[in-house]
């Protein structure tokens, strides 16, 4: 049930559209912020799972390092969607089977959302 609520939150964030009477820069910031919320969820799920000893510290470190890098890519670059997709796909490959079992659905959802933005 908790997973379902988190998925609804992710999709809800993706469905949000920018307020209409704002500058192009603000619209870009709004969309980046919405995507960041999705990535934050992936990081938070991994950290919570690690705190409960469900996934290893090395898997969690992979996710946290990836997360910081991904947020910086989004924040600092214009054409961030391609780099973010590649990093999400790489993260999926790098995680152990146990780590994948926890975050794979959320990575898949984030990929779908990023693809929808491109």
């Amino acid at each position: 049930m908790k997973r379902l609520i988190l998925v609804l939150a992710l999709i809800g964030a993706a469905c949000a559209s920018a307020p209409v009477n704002v500058t192009p820069e603000a619209q870009v910031a709004f969309k980046k912020h919405e995507v960041q919320k999705d990535l934050d969820l992936i990081r938070d799920i991994a950290v919570d799972a690690n705190a409960q000893s469900i996934i290893s510290e090395s898997d969690t470190r992979l996710v946290v390092v990836w997360h910081e890098s991904a947020l910086t890519i989004i924040h600092d670059t214009t054409n961030w969607q391609t780099g973010l997709r590649a990093s999400l796909e790489q993260l999926q490959k790098d995680l152990s089977p146990q780590g994948q079992s926890q975050v794979k659905p959320y990575i898949a959802l984030a990929l779908a959302i990023v693809k929808g933005i491109q």
């Binding site: 049930m1 999709i11 307020p19 704002v22 960041q36 950290v47 946290v64 997360h67 659905p105």
Partner: protein, 71 residues
């Protein structure tokens, strides 16, 4: 455990399919009921994102500092 996991996965799939439509309907209903509801300014949106970015990166760095890589 396996049955619960399968059921949850099915619900997740259903949520992925149906939630965008549900949110669109809710948003439309809210807009009709509250026309001209206050929206954030451009500056507020940009500042909110910048603040969220900085605090999330800080959270990453705090976790990494608390869990140094053992070699």
């Amino acid at each position: 455990m396996t049955n619960n996991s399968t059921r949850t996965d099915s619900l997740v799939q259903l949520a992925i399919q149906e939630t965008p439509a549900v949110f669109a309907l809710l948003k439309e209903a809210f807009a009709k009921k509250h026309p001209g509801a206050d929206e954030p300014t451009s500056a507020e949106i940009i500042a909110s994102y910048q603040s969220a970015f900085e605090s999330s990166v800080a959270k990453d760095e705090a976790w990494l500092a608390a869990h140094p890589n053992k070699k």
